[in-house]
C-alpha cells in the first residue's frame, strides 16, 4: 500500500527505442510529459535501478509523489511539526489548568467553607479543570454535606479560573424570634399606597404620617377585642419631600474630536496598564479592543482620537436642565423599581461669580415602613411600650 512514485527526467533522442527498452526491462511507466529531447516520466520508485540498465539515456530524479513524498515533507518540516505539536500540547495543558478559584460571596466564612470543600474534592490552584458532569457531581455533594449552610451553588469554568457562585441558607430563626412587631414610619410623608400580609393597618391612603407613627399594627383586633399578636409585614409607599441645594459652575469644558487618530497597543494586567508604543498624540480619547489574552495579561488594540477642549458657558435654561438631570441621577442610585420622583420644583436660583446656586423641592414616592418589635405589658392595648 505504501506505493510511491519517482518523477524522472530522461534525456533521449529516440523515444520509441526508450519505450521499447522500458517494456523489455519490465519498467512500468504511469505518465509522461515531453519537452523536446527531455521527457519526464512517472515510474515506481522501486523500478529506479532498472533505469540504469538502459545505458544510452541520461536521467535525473526530479521529485517524488505518494508516500515517499509525504515522508520527505514530514522530514523536512519536522522541527516545525514537533514545535507545533508541543505548542498544542502546552496550550491544551494550559487551557485545562486552574490558576485560581474564586468564590463569589460577601461572607468570608462562607467563602472559606466553600474553598475548603472544593479543595477536598480536588478543585484547587494548579489542578486540572473538571468536566461539566464532575462539577455537577461535586456541587451536589457539597450542597448535601452543608445543607444547613448552603442554599444554592453554581461552579463554572471561566478560562483558567473557576468561579463559584454561592447563596447562603438563611434559617427562619430570625423571623421566628420576632413574634410581635409593628411597621412604623421612618420618615414624614403622605401615604400613597399600603399593602400588608400580616397585621392591621392603622393608616389609609392620603393620610399624613410623622416619623415613628405606627402604620401597620402587630396587634389584631376583632370587634374591639384583641385577638392576637403577630409580626406585621407589608409595604407602605408614601410621598416624601426633600429640599436639595446644588451648585453648578456656569462654564464647562467640552471635548471635541479633531479627526486625527493614531493606533497603538496596550498591555494590561493587575500591575501594568501602559501603552506598548509611544503615544504620538498628547490629548486623546481612546477606544480599545481586546486582541490577545494570556493568563491575566491582556493585549489591547487601541485607537487614540485627538481631542481639543473647548470652554463653553451654560445658558440659564441649559443650567436648569443640567441641575434637574443631576437630581434625577442622584435619586436613581437610591430609589428602587417601585419608588419614583413625583415632581421637582426650583425654589430659588442665583448666579454668583460664575456659579449657579439652586434650591430644588423634590417630591418622591418611596417606601417608608420599617419593622419595630414591641413587648406587651398588661393593660397596654396599643402596644406602645417597647
Amino acid at each position: 500500500m505504501k506505493k510511491s512514485y519517482a518523477l524522472v527526467k530522461v534525456d533521449c533522442s529516440n523515444k520509441e527505442r526508450f519505450l521499447k527498452s522500458c517494456q523489455k526491462n519490465k519498467l512500468d511507466i504511469y505518465d509522461t510529459k515531453s519537452k523536446d529531447r527531455e521527457w519526464i516520466i512517472k515510474i515506481n520508485e522501486e523500478d529506479l535501478p532498472k533505469l540504469k540498465r538502459i545505458w544510452y539515456v541520461e536521467y535525473e530524479v526530479v521529485g517524488y509523489t505518494g508516500f515517499h513524498q509525504v515522508k520527505k515533507q514530514l522530514k523536512k518540516n519536522r522541527v516545525f511539526l514537533i514545535c507545533a505539536f508541543i505548542g498544542i500540547l502546552f496550550l491544551f495543558f494550559l487551557s485545562h489548568l486552574v490558576l485560581s478559584v474564586e468564590v463569589i460571596h460577601s461572607s468570608s466564612d462562607i467563602r472559606n467553607l466553600v474553598l475548603n470543600a472544593l479543595e477536598e474534592k480536588g478543585i484547587k490552584k494548579y489542578s486540572f479543570q473538571k468536566s461539566y458532569q464532575e462539577l455537577e457531581q461535586i456541587k451536589k455533594e457539597i450542597l448535601d454535606a452543608y445543607e444547613n449552610r448552603l442554599e444554592w451553588m453554581e461552579i463554572e469554568n471561566s478560562g483558567m479560573k473557576v468561579k463559584v457562585r454561592v447563596e447562603e441558607r438563611k434559617l427562619q430563626e430570625e423571623t421566628k424570634k420576632k413574634e410581635s412587631c409593628h411597621l412604623i414610619a421612618k420618615k414624614d410623608g403622605m401615604i400613597k399606597s399600603i399593602s400588608y400580609t400580616a397585621g392591621e393597618a392603622l393608616v389609609k391612603r392620603n393620610d399624613y404620617v410623622k416619623k415613628g407613627d405606627i402604620l401597620v399594627s402587630g396587634i389584631i383586633h376583632k370587634e374591639d377585642e384583641e385577638k392576637g399578636v403577630v409580626c406585621a409585614k407589608g409595604e407602605v409607599l408614601a410621598e416624601v419631600w426633600y429640599q436639595a441645594s446644588l451648585t453648578l459652575p456656569m462654564t464647562y469644558k467640552e471635548k471635541i474630536r479633531t479627526g486625527k487618530k493614531r493606533w497603538n497597543m496596550k498591555i494590561k494586567n493587575n500591575a501594568i496598564n501602559d501603552f506598548l508604543f509611544k503615544s504620538r498624540i498628547e490629548n486623546f480619547e481612546e477606544e480599545s479592543k481586546p486582541l490577545l489574552k494570556i493568563l491575566n495579561t491582556q493585549i489591547l488594540f487601541v485607537t487614540q482620537y485627538e481631542i481639543e477642549e473647548e470652554e463653553k458657558k451654560y445658558t440659564e435654561e441649559e443650567a436648569m436642565e443640567k441641575v434637574l438631570q443631576m437630581i434625577d441621577e442622584k435619586f436613581a442610585t437610591i430609589l428602587n423599581e417601585k419608588e419614583e420622583i413625583l415632581s421637582k420644583k426650583v425654589l430659588k436660583k442665583e448666579e454668583n461669580n460664575g456659579i449657579m446656586n439652586v434650591e430644588v423641592f423634590v417630591s418622591v414616592k418611596e417606601e417608608i415602613s420599617m419593622t419595630q418589635e414591641f413587648q406587651r405589658i398588661k393593660g397596654d392595648e396599643n402596644g406602645d411600650a417597647f
Binding site: 523515444k15 520509441e16 519505450l19 521499447k20 522500458c22 517494456q23 519490465k26 512500468d28 511507466i29 504511469y30 505518465d31 509522461t32 515531453s34
Partner: protein, 79 residues
Amino acid sequence: MHLYKTIKTFLFDKEYFVNVFDSHIHLYGFLQVLSLQEEEASLRFPEFLLQIKGQDFRVLKLTKNELLIQGKISEMKFL
C-alpha cells in the same frame, strides 16, 4: 488484497482487448511494441498485428502488457 485480485480478475478476464475512446486508446494483453511514434503505433497481439495512425500520440501508461495512449486517432488496421 484478495478482494482487489478478485475484481481485477473479473474485469480483465479476456486474454486481450482494445478499447477506443474519443481521444484515448487502451490496449491490454499485447505481446510486443513494434513501433511507437507521435503519428503511428504498431503492436503485436497473439492473433493479429494492430496498426494505429493519428496525431499527437502521447504515452500515458506503459506496463508489461498494458498501454494507454492519448491522441487523435484517425485509422486502425488489424493485420
